[in-house]
Amino acid sequence: MQLIYEKCRGRRAVTFDALDVPEVKLPEALLREKPAELPEVSELDVVRHFTHLSKRNVGVDSHFYPLGSCTMKYNPKMAEAVAAYPGFAWLHPHLSTVPEYQAKCQGALALVYELERLLAEIAGMKASCIQPIAGAHGELTGVLLIAAYHRDRGNTHKDTIIVPDSAHGTNPASAAIAGYKVLQVPSNAQGLVDVEKFKEALNDRVAGVMLTCPNTHGLFESNIREIAELAHSVDALLYYDGANLNAIIGQCRPGDLGFDVMHYNLHKTFGTPHGMGGPGSGPVGVGERLLPYLPGPRVVKHEDRYALEMPEKSIGRIAAFFGNFLIAVRAFAYILHLGDEGLRDVSRMAVLNANYILARLKGAYKPAYPGTCMHECVFTASPQAAQGVHALDIAKALIDCGFHPPTIYFPLTVKECLMIEPTETENKETLDAFCDAMLEIAKLVETNPDSLHAAPVTTPVGRLDEVKAAKELNCAKLQ
């Protein structure tokens, strides 16, 4: 398919009325030499181009998308509709900056206030802040909060953050970006944090411990209280990576488990779209210890009026305003619609759906760890790899069967990993069709492995040469 730049014929899409004031230019020396070579196409050219591009994509609306760790649940249309209300979508953020203007954005400030309260309550935290723009930004914010706590207490010797080997890559990266050394602790044979190894790693230099719970093996860290007590015994704070909150929402709360700080992924747990890579939203929640340091300014309520305040010990602004506000609007609508019982049912069905897939597939694929799982099931394709069919081949074959593949080769602790997260919004027929396809592929591994190496064959392009891309680095059509 052509690039839009290859469709230029000197046409126009949008035009403007003639200027109603005299035309003025800046001094010559401040002008650009020649105009940027942007597309010169008609409106229909643009509409067709991007409509055709969209058809070269699969999304949750068209395909089952069991991408582990990403919680690709259905994105409700109601949430899209309310986020498009002009009173939200067209609202200038600096209305909140200027005291004289704040009366003109009370509805939006009320929404921020209420959502932050609900998010805190859902996770058993004291307060939350919706400024962080994505999950990893929430992680960074959380680690900066931990750093502020230790600075305030004079814990200048603390320079290390512990993460398990099964952690998302963002955890060690966020700790490092925030200025900490990273110490990795191994998982045990059951797929949980090895508590003995954790004890060995823990010392007075440890500022914090970042955990995902359930972890990326899809397993609940049942020793979590012991881990929390051990961490707190050296004044290290416990961070909850909220990527997997969908598994436990309404069943148990990170704050009650002993976590001091966390981030939420509104685009995972609270049904907001993933937008082909973003925008997501990564609010932070904090317990008592970190409450004074939350990013500011904070929305506060004075009787029936909302205003902004910068708390004395706040780490300051992590975003210019309220992060991805329109994503927060969607999450607010999601929470209000599902409510108490609905949110509890989210985790029940997310976990049942994952266990259903585990039960149907465990005869043909080897589970990475024994027992039931939480919201995602993790397999190793090592037995298939021994027959020449790798996790990658299975993923590509699934595309030809009409499914988006699961996450592969993550977590790094499981060889030839297939990580399947169905979410609660999928029906049984879809899960059955996916399992049937997986079982069919398992048979092909025995009977016709070569057919799997050719997959996918139903897509606009086949497997692409990534080495060529990395060596040639053609990342833009420059003029």
Binding site: Y409, E466, V467, A470, K471
Partner: protein, 128 residues
């Protein structure tokens, strides 16, 4: 196989004597683990490095790694051909795929490193 005249580290670098200087590269095992190598970042000539200091970096499509100085010394030369043809490391890791040369090396330091037999045994513990 791992040449017997070289010494090896647990990070899969090799080092060998060439006149007054010592040549450093990564082993066949290392290149095989990385897969198709797409980019190599080399140190500046003249840079003094400590033992185990990050001295070069290597990237493939799916992985990235640092190359550490097996011993302390000063970088006297780098393999500029790798900037154009990083695949030389995949094709000939112990030969044309060398990374850099070190001078001012205390030869005694090499005794602390593994010989080919020890390294080959070490690889058995690395799995795949």
């Amino acid at each position: 196989m791992n040449p017997s005249e070289l010494r090896y580290t647990e990070d899969h670098e090799w080092i060998g004597r060439e006149g007054d200087v010592y040549v450093v590269g990564i082993t066949d095992f290392a290149q095989d683990q990385l897969g198709d190598i797409t980019f190599i970042e080399l140190p500046a000539v003249g840079r003094a490095v400590k033992k185990h200091e990050e001295t070069a970096a290597v990237e493939s499509v799916k992985a990235a790694g640092d190359v550490y100085a097996p011993v302390a010394g000063t970088v006297t030369a780098v393999n500029e051909a790798l900037e154009r043809e990083p695949e030389l490391v995949n094709q000939d890791p112990f030969g044309k795929g060398w990374f850099f040369k070190l001078g001012d090396v205390d030869a005694a330091q090499l005794e602390e490193l593994m010989d080919a037999a020890a390294y080959t045994k070490f690889l058995e513990t690395c799995g795949d």
